[in-house]
């Protein structure tokens, strides 16, 4: 009773306070927008209300929740007064927005399949920020990109020269012969002018008109590498093969024409080029084909709930990106971690440093797969480690998709060693063989893992130590192609065989288990 009363009075205060405290200019404040954007995540609005065409809100699809896209602010919409109640028309404004959050059952969007569940409590300041943010999402709304306006500009006396070649870094274009050139009175830096998709480079040159003396900054984004010279001086170096990546630089300029030279190269994949400048009287003038968008929210890498590993091993069972839905993360104090996949009984990933951050799973509804923290992460072949092949050339049972489960293997759980909480995983092969699968971490500058397998029972079984496009034997170990993984077998009596099967190389060991067999595999890797 008391709780409900408190809630009601809070609603009243909330409504009036927001109405009073929210002049239009406050809503435009980029600070509020940024805060609102965070709240939109933490208050789980994002799980239902889609704001970006590239990032669907799965729960919202099912619920037919209103999307905050296109022009919606200030527009009319049809609601029902109470769920399933009579229809009414409202204007999507501050008052309606506030009411919808505080009393979601009162006016339910007609298009929605269900009323909005009550969200976590929102205080006045938070409401202000949410309004500013949601309003900024509406086209034609009063708020703009917090990074400032973009105006399109042109490069005067524009010329370009395109070159063919495959490079890791920008070449010395002066020593190369262009296959295509062009000029124009003015133009925009556009890699598309080269007319080819990969293994090419372009040099753009021209003048930019400077009206006021002062410092000018340039934001250069590209996929792959770029370098910007102004008046012969290097201002931004964004060289190398990489995805879309932006770098900034600045230079003092005098009034008049400033000479621009922009070098670009693309090896493979996507090609993108963005260049904008700002300075006295210029707020983000766009000089290349594309713009640098602020980092997209959506499937970002959430953080904030690190699982810290101190003096004993820690377990994290959840949806771990790179493993199956039955991932079991293990973090060791030796600064090495692994993800055991209980769908295939295989070690799916190994990495160094920090273990996991549970932010994705411990906030909101816990949607999606969380990428491991740390560094030097390698993904191993996830195919099941053991199989009873009908013949020596029979195909290995593959983990085709994330949900494929091992054929003939059955997960039994794990035992944590009392002294250090390291897990020993158990599983069965058919009815006759039991496996104890124990990963032992090795501390060091480059920590590594030793996997000790003990198979009990009687029977013949094959062990898949690795599978990759190439496997080469070197110095008593094996280099696994495609990764910088090296495996070796410190105590092995049997000879591993490398076979070609299904378009890949497989490193196999045949075991004839009579009572018990053991196997020790060492994994070390670098990046």
């Amino acid at each position: 009773m008391q709780r409900i009363k408190r809630g009601q009075s809070l609603c009243v205060i909330g409504l009036s306070a927001v109405g009073l405290l929210l002049p239009a200019e406050a809503a435009d404040d980029a600070k509020f927008i940024a805060r609102g954007k965070e709240l939109f995540q933490s208050k789980i609005c994002f799980t239902c209300h889609q704001v970006d065409e590239n990032v669907p809100a799965p729960a919202g699809i099912a619920m037919k929740a209103p999307k905050f896209m296109g022009g919606f602010w200030g527009k009319k919409r049809v609601v029902t007064l109470g769920y399933g109640g009579p229809e009414a028309t409202v204007t999507f404004d501050e008052a309606y927005f506030t009411e919808s959050i505080l009393k979601p059952m009162d006016k339910v969007s007609k298009e929605a399949a269900a009323p909005m569940p009550p969200p976590p409590a929102v205080n006045d300041g938070e409401m202000k920020a949410l309004i500013a943010y949601v309003r900024s999402l509406s086209e034609g709304g009063s708020a703009e990109d917090p990074d400032g306006l973009i105006a399109k500009g042109k490069i005067n006396n524009f010329t370009f020269a395109a070159y063919k070649g495959s490079w890791d870094r920008l070449p010395d274009f002066s020593k190369l012969k262009p296959f295509k050139t062009g000029k124009a009175k003015s133009g925009t830096a556009d890699p598309g002018l080269a007319g080819v998709g990969e293994n090419f480079g372009v040099v753009f040159e021209g003048d930019i008109e400077i009206a006021k003396k002062g410092d000018y900054s340039f934001n250069l984004g590209s996929d792959d590498g770029t370098r910007l010279h102004i008046n012969g001086r290097l201002v931004v170096d964004n060289d190398g093969v990489h995805g879309m990546r932006a770098k900034k630089g600045s230079i003092a300029l005098e009034p008049g024409a400033a000479r621009l030279r922009l070098e670009y190269f693309e090896r493979g994949g996507e090609e993108r080029l963005a260049l904008d400048m700002s300075g006295p009287g210029i707020k983000r003038l766009q000089l290349a084909k594309q713009t640098i968008k602020p980092a997209r929210r959506g499937p970002a890498f959430p953080t904030g709930n690190p699982i810290t590993v101190t003096d004993e091993a820690r377990i994290y069972r959840n949806f771990i990106e790179g493993g199956s839905p039955r991932g079991i993360g293990v973090g060791y104090p030796e600064k090495v971690n692994l993800c055991f996949d209980a769908n295939t009984m295989q070690i799916a990933m190994l990495w160094h440093g920090a273990f996991m951050d549970a932010a994705r799973h411990w906030n909101g509804r816990g949607q999606g797969f969380q990428r491991p923290s740390g560094h030097y992460l390698i993904r191993l072949n996830r195919d099941q480690p053991f199989a009873q092949l009908d013949s020596h050339d029979a195909a290995w049972p593959k983990a085709e998709g994330r949900d494929t489960r091992a054929k003939g293997l059955k997960f039994r759980g794990y035992f944590l060693l009392p002294e250090n909480r390291r897990p020993i995983f158990g599983y069965k092969i058919g009815d006759d063989l039991q496996v104890a699968d124990y990963a032992e971490p090795n501390a060091g500058a480059l920590p590594s893992i030793t996997r000790r397998l003990r198979i009990r029972g009687n029977g013949k079984v094959w062990y898949l130590a690795a599978a990759a496009a190439s496997i080469t034997e070197e110095d008593g170990g094996y280099n696994i192609g495609g990764t910088l993984l090296r495996v070796s077998f410190p105590e092995l009596e049997a000879e591993p065989v490398i076979r070609e099967s299904g378009g890949r190389k497989e490193l196999l060991i045949k075991l004839n288990v009579e009572g018990q067999a053991t196997l020790k595999q060492h994994y070390e890797w670098n990046l």
């Binding site: 009773m1 008391q2 709780r3 409900i4 809630g7 789980i44 799980t47 799965p58 729960a59 099912a62 619920m63 037919k64 769920y83 399933g84 059952m105 399949a113 269900a114 009323p115 569940p117 009550p118 969200p119 976590p120 409590a121 820690r314 377990i315 994290y316 069972r317 959840n318 949806f319 839905p325 039955r326 079991i328 993360g329 209980a342 549970a358 799973h361 411990w362 906030n363 909101g364 509804r365 816990g366 949607q367 999606g368 797969f369 994330r402 949900d403 997960f411 039994r412 759980g413 794990y414 035992f415 944590l416 060693l417 009392p418």
Partner: protein, 494 residues
Amino acid sequence: MMNQVTRLALLAGLALGQAAALRAADPVESDYYQIDAIPMPDGVVMETSGIEMMPDGKLAICSRRGDVYVLSDPFGAPDKIRWTLYAEGLHEPLNLAFSDGWLYCTQRGELTRMKDVSGDDRADIFETVNDGWGITGDYHEYAFGTRPDPNGDMWIVLCLTGSFSSQIDYRGWCVRVTKDGELIPTASGIRSPGGIGLNHLGEAFFADNQGPWNGSSSLKPLSHGSFQGHPGGFRWYDLAAAKTSMGKRPTEPKTNSRWVAERPKIPELVPSAIVFPHGILGNSTAGFAYDSNGKFGPFKNQLLVCDQTFSVVNRAFLEKVNGVYQGAAFSFLKGFGSGNISAYMHPNGTLFVGGTDRGWGARGGRRFALDRVTWKGGVPFEMHEMRAKPDGFELTFTHEVEAVSAGNLASYSMSAYTYIYRSDYGSPVVDKMTPKVVGVEVTGPKTVRVTVDKLIHGHVHELHAKGVRSAKGLPILHPVGYYTLNEIPPGELN
């Protein structure tokens, strides 16, 4: 003249004051039950999703975040309770059950049992009892389980992938796991469970939540071979184990229909035993518990059912009519800290309730909570039972009734309604009717027979008994009963 007016005003003021004083003296829930929030140690985030007693008198609780804590002296002063971490890293566990020396726990992908063998008060064996159902990585794919039933089986309900479909084995099904770890496909038609448990007879019930094919959240009885209403998981009837255990797939229900219209066409379709009208008694029915010996008050064996959104516990009286479970729901207790999802009743009459508001908001206001409820000893004046009769209902009260108010037609009113049975999300209230209370007879010191001009097959019958007073003059603490009339009892032969 002025004097008279003043005197009148004074009198009016006095009368108002008296009325207010009378109202203030009416009993409230907290006169009968005490809710104590159990404080958590710094840094502990216990989104309480499962509660179970350990044989050493400690209370085990698990959290959606994957931790299991053991609480020593759980009946002592709340701030003196000691918390010890027993296990961690489990995959969104949603129940705990102690049996045969093991602590069982349903994780998203498997039924696990754990044990401490090294004697350091932390579990070190985590044995997979059965993992025979699929998960794709969709957050909706929850798994809720029971304690062992009299047969030793644990009943597990598996939420659909998302809300509408079943992308992998047995999503949207109920399975049982036997003592030997064997999985038996048991029922189809589950949508999005909020809890599961056994009643005092060892029969399994689960809470399904409003959504596609569920107009309102409800409590449903589970039986082998039954279809619980959502056809999204029908493809798994083709799996060998389901074929053996369940036979052929039922007829698909027609959308935009009613349960009563579909039941005759689909013999496997089992109606909800208790509908908790959406937005009235709650929005999200969850776990439940019951008092097996009367140490928690007068409601022995009735189900005390959590609602996550409303942060309340409702009460359900169940009966069987024509072999079908049905009954009445009543408000029971409010004032819980967060979104209630799990409940456990100790034989000493202490009820533990826990929950979280993560992902789905709750009115309680706290992000997560563990609350303890104890009965103060007094008996609230309530409708103890509400039984269907061929022409109305029989009410049994917890106290003797005052004959005049209890026998007065004007003390009662009724409305009846139902929900659309459809593939779309939820349903508005439809087919609203107003059965007229045409007869009232006080048939015993605590019983009243209410006759209405019509009963509507399949409807929720909402009975208001606001005018009834106990022999001691008390009003009914929660004077509304919501009876789900799946079956109308046949008339007695003369």
